[in-house]
Amino acid sequence: MSRKGSILLTTILSAALALPAASFGADEGLQQKVEALSKEVKALQQQVQSQKEGKKRISDWLTIGGDYRFRVDSLSAKVPSHFAFADILAWQLGGQVGPPPMRQAATVENDVLYTNRFGLNLKARAARDVTVTARLLMYKTFGNGDSTATSGTFFADRIGVFDGTQGHVPGDGKLTVDQVFATWSNILDQPIWFSVGRRPSTNGIPSHLRQNDERPGVSGIPALLVDYAFDGMTLGYAPDIEALPGAYAKLCYGRGFENGFTTSSSANTNLRDTDMIGISVVPYDTDPLFLDVQYNRGMNIFDFPVFAESTLGPLRPAADLGDIDWLGVTALSTLKKTGPGTLNLFASAAVSKTHPNANTVVFGGVDTGAGLLHSGVVESKTGNAIYLGARYDITATRTKIGAEFNRGSKNWITFVPAGDDIWTSKLGTRGNVYELYAIQEFNAAPISSYVSKTFFRVGFQYYDFEYTGTNNWVGAPVKISELTASPLNAQMLTPLSRATDLYATLEVKF
């Protein structure tokens, strides 16, 4: 064999040996492609089959969102000299020996309080025009599995956690159902809806501004009148009126206390269920102007809600004290492109009027003589409150700076125990409250949802209490400066003359 022949043979043999391997490699690639295509076809077939069977992807019918908040508070307050109800009672029973015992002024502090709050939101489109919405909440202090660190003897809404405040004041760290309701929309092809369940009756307008939340839609409630986790129902109508863009009206109902079974001899036989009805009319709902007028009536108001644990011990309703009427109006304006950002302004005003009966609170076997905002003479009381504020959003830096002020009169009483404040829900204050805050959002592209965001918030609250009984409808208010004028001004709860809260948060909304 010539040399050329040997080379040619070697080349051919090499090629022949290499061919199957190359062919096998090509086959393997082809095989993989075929398998991948087969899988895709199978997936498509399953998708088509699922659609035929009415099945959908989870994202077609379920929306998941939520939030996490880390918060640190530095709290300080001043207790004025005062007579305490228990001391005066003991002094009277002891024959009134010596001068009536007076508690001296003191300072109350908690330098550093850390809390965790986690919320999980779910919205399921169950069927056409039918949705179920839920919000689960966990709120606890660092280092505690109960509410003792944030419960005091200062304010009725913060002596413990009860049904209307679960998840809104620090508690035992369990995930509770803050909201769950079914909504039937587009009733008879009209913009009418009916919704029933545990209501979105907290964090209303305009408190969403300081929370850096989206503005509540038609589910919103006026923060000055209601901030209470209610079980109830709503019937709403949003007509198309060209001159009144965004207009809607709602009839709302909520149950604040269920009395349960009664017999002629049971302890609760003289009690009645506590209910609230409300009529909300929003004639105008646009960015530049939002207007809301709301009337509420609370019926058969209890003396205490059910507290499994409180700083006064376990409590439950023992007396129906009467009814309360409220009327409020809220205006909110969002003015875009005002300088380098957006200016948000709001004003809210409300009046409350009590309709007491003759019932009074019996505590520890002693009739305190205190009824619905009265001590002694049974009379109706009228109170009022205002809530003003502004927030400026600097677009370029994602910075938001806000200031708020609210004032409640001597006989102001509202239904806002779930307010997002540590000392006491500020909108129930009988006196003045000032708050300044700044929000700095991260410049991070949202991933989980269009509204997801991460931000720091730093704020300062200053409470200037003028009368006792903030957020408490039991007993007549007493002017703070007159607490020592007479033993008759003795207080069940420890009064505060002023309080401050310097707070900071890190919040993630997803």
Partner: protein, 107 residues
């Protein structure tokens, strides 16, 4: 009894609403549908093209939205694909022009 009356009243109003259909105007088309696509050109856009899937027919419907209030909601992502919308539109020069565009009410 008073509470029972209040709850009964609520249901009575609901029943009355169910029995009171409102007629539609002849020159406008009303529909309820879910947004499948929003085309809007930037933050200064003065118009948007929105495609919705009609709840009743399942057919896609494309409308032009020109009003600033709704455009702001698109830009701020207060209205997004997947949202159910109650809308009213009229046909002008072969195009569906929105006259009312609002998320279906309910809470």
């Amino acid at each position: 009894m008073r509470r029972f009356t209040a709850v009964s009243l609520l249901f009575a109003v609901l029943a009355a609403a169910l029995c009171a259909p409102v007629p539609a105007s002849a020159d406008e088309i009303k529909m309820v549908g879910v947004i499948t696509k929003i085309d809007i050109a930037g933050a200064d856009a003065k118009t948007a093209t929105v495609t919705l899937k009609d709840n009743k027919t399942g057919e896609p419907v494309t409308v032009i939205v020109n009003d600033d209030l709704t455009l702001d909601k698109f830009k701020d992502h207060r209205i997004n694909p997947g949202d159910e919308i109650r809308l009213k539109y009229e046909v002008k020069d072969g195009k569906n022009v929105s006259r009312y565009f609002r998320k279906t009410a309910g809470c």
